[in-house]
């Protein structure tokens, strides 16, 4: 067993930290308040080649693994950018995985270099109002007419829909009741998004307001057959294939928010003097921060292990799920404790911990709830009966 940190990973961490240092907490608070996409930050990360980190070298990326991608997203979140920064990049860093793995060469040539350079934004259209985690119950459908599919239906929680040129859209090409298995009959399309047949409405939400998440209605949107990813009917399986990587990256982002919150809490506990001494001298303030540190470090170990397994091509479902649960839990507890440490000022925007708190809360819900992870662990790891 070896915990030696690779030089290259330190270089990556350092370089990302330096880019992020040009975008302080005030920048993110402002973008969050104005509901503005952080273009300056996005462009700086694109210029450094960070967006293409996990895209194969043959298609303009750097072909690194989930370990390296998770380090980038962790550092982005830990800089204070939190999810406003991480989400701006996340989909471009990892969202094209189904295309990388199952797309035709022509499709890869056409889209991947543009994603790697930061030029092409792609959103993800999977969840529907009546089919959340129960993905096989989606009803958005596509019917084949000549050399194009006609898409009709409604998606929610499509992040970046306002700015994305394309969307990776999961549609039913065979209704659930006519499919042999419920996981069959779904197809993945790389559809154009900014079209008159598409209606996009941002959803008001608690936090991460620099990056809009939207409800999207598709009213007979035509999609060329050439823009279908892989085979018809296998879209759900293509998505499942990327779930572990997504869990790990999300966990790393949650970890980053926790690190940012803890940094601010510790600094405040050092500086804030009440009754003639720094509040951090009181064990009631100090101990929960010590606990937060331990929880974050423990979550990080699970993230590293899951990422390592995935990059080695080994099964990592249990570890990836556990990493997400542990990191989301540690992140929110830390952000909540950071707010508690700041007292009344923690509730004020000026100290930024309320922004971390709003965004850390999201990590216990999205992209999968903590409860569904417990379902995974109890059913697939402990082999208890399935509950749903």
């Amino acid at each position: 067993m070896d915990f030696q940190i690779e030089d290259e990973h330190e270089l990556i961490r350092d370089a990302v930290r330096k880019v992020c240092a040009d975008f302080p907490d005030e920048y993110w608070a402002d973008k969050d308040k104005r509901h503005e996409f952080p273009w300056e930050f996005y462009d700086a990360m694109a210029a450094g080649g960070w967006i293409g980190i996990a895209i194969p070298e043959a298609y303009g990326g750097s072909g690194r693994g989930i370990t390296e991608a998770s380090i980038v997203l962790e550092e982005v979140a830990a800089s204070g950018a939190a999810m406003n920064g991480a989400t701006a990049l996340h989909l471009s860093i990892f969202g094209m995985h189904p295309v990388v793995k199952y797309g035709t060469d022509a499709m890869k040539q056409a889209y991947l270099p543009r994603v790697a350079s930061g030029d092409l934004h792609v959103a993800f259209g999977v969840t529907e109002p009546d089919a959340g985690t129960d993905t096989t119950s989606i009803t958005t459908s596509a019917r084949l007419e000549g050399d194009q599919y006609i898409v009709r239906g409604r998606k929610v929680w499509t992040t970046k829909a306002l700015i994305a040129e394309r969307v990776l859209l999961l549609v039913r090409t065979t209704p659930k009741e006519k499919s042999e298995r419920r996981t069959d009959g779904m197809t993945l399309l790389l559809a154009e998004l900014q079209r008159p047949e598409v209606d996009i409405s941002p959803i008001d939400k608690v936090g991460r307001n620099a990056v809009a998440t939207c409800e999207v209605v598709y009213d007979d949107l035509p999609v060329a057959v050439a823009d279908r990813v892989g085979e018809e009917g296998k879209g759900f399986r293509y998505l499942l294939d990327g779930l572990n990587a997504e869990r790990i990256l999300i966990a790393a982002e949650a970890l980053g928010i926790g690190r940012a919150a803890l940094r601010r809490a510790v600094a405040y506990a050092q500086d804030r003097v009440v009754f003639g001494r720094p509040i951090g001298q009181n064990q009631g303030v100090a101990f929960p921060l010590g606990e937060a540190k331990m929880r974050l470090d423990a979550a990080e170990l699970m993230i590293r292990k899951a990422a390592w397994l995935l990059d080695q091509g080994q099964p990592c479902g249990a570890e990836a799920n556990m990493a997400k649960w542990l990191a989301a839990d540690a992140s929110f507890q830390t952000a909540d404790q950071a707010m508690q440490t700041h007292g009344g000022f923690g509730y004020a925007s000026e100290y930024h911990v309320e922004r971390y708190w709003r965004e850390a809360r999201l990590m216990r819900i999205a992209p999968i709830s903590q409860e569904m992870i417990l379902n995974y662990v109890t059913e697939h790891v402990l082999e208890l009966p399935k509950s749903y």
């Binding site: 370089a15 210029a47 080649g49 750097s62």
Partner: protein, 250 residues
């Protein structure tokens, strides 16, 4: 034109350093280390000369423990073409470093050697000057602007109360001041390329130099904590205190 850039591994500028309990030095255990910021400026200047077509090769050099390879990798990621580590466990001092670099220069025969003007740990500001003396090269220190013009280098120097512009002949030594340039950040593609660049290691013995320190550090003490100020009730009291307590006027 070949350019050598000596770089030093130092404690990261953002770390709050602590003196060891026995006052023998700074506690460096588990402390983040980095390329000395002035050396980063030197690397940036060399890489810009290469991008402008003036320099043909940029070689980063460090003298110290094997951990210095980390900083040399950073330099390679910032655009240096290759790197050399003079590996030693000796706690090297400016004169030893300058000797080791002079021995390397005898082999490399670079036309320009760009140093940081000082390192943020020792703050000696000696190595560049000592190197110039040992090699007999001309020197332009504390540069805020560098222009290569044929066989000459025009160096704008930051001096007390203003700027001084000098012209020196190649081969030359330049030491960088803070305002010379703003170093770039390593990009991911360059970090990847850095892995394939060569990083050679030599020992002081192989170079035939003696790195034994000539200065002994007796004690390292943190600066005195600043005491709270007081309010004086008259100009006379102020003058009296400045004269008799602070002794800054007489």
């Amino acid at each position: 034109m070949k350019v050598l850039v000596p770089v030093k591994r130092v404690v990261d500028a953002n770390v709050k350093v602590r003196v060891k309990p026995d006052n023998s030095g700074i506690d460096l255990s588990n402390v983040k280390m980095a390329v000395n910021p002035f050396c980063e400026i030197a690397i940036e200047e060399a890489v810009r000369l290469k991008e402008a077509g003036t320099a043909t090769e940029v070689v980063a050099i460090s003298v110290g423990a094997s951990a210095c390879q980390e900083q040399l990798r950073t330099c390679l990621a910032l655009g240096a073409d290759r790197a050399i580590l003079v590996e030693t466990d000796v706690d090297v001092q400016p004169l030893g470093i300058a000797k080791a670099l002079a021995a390397l220069q005898a082999k490399e025969e670079a036309e320009l050697v760009i140093f940081g003007k000082q390192s943020i740990d020792g703050d000696n500001s000696q190595t560049g000057q000592m190197f110039a003396q040992l090699t007999g090269m001309s020197q332009g220190t504390f540069a805020s602007e560098v222009a290569i013009d044929g066989g000459k280098v025009q160096v704008t120097r930051e001096i007390d109360g203003g700027l001084q512009t000098i012209k020196i002949s190649l081969p030359a030594v330049v030491t960088t001041d803070l305002r010379l340039n703003e170093p770039r950040y390593a990009s991911l593609p360059n970090i990847m390329k850095a892995k394939k660049k060569s990083l050679d290691t030599v020992t002081a013995d192989e170079l035939g130099v003696d790195l034994t320190p000539s200065v002994e550090v007796v004690a390292v003490n943190p600066p005195a904590e600043r005491a709270a100020g007081i309010t004086v009730d008259s100009v006379e009291a102020l003058v009296d205190k400045l004269k008799n307590e602070a002794k800054v006027i007489s």
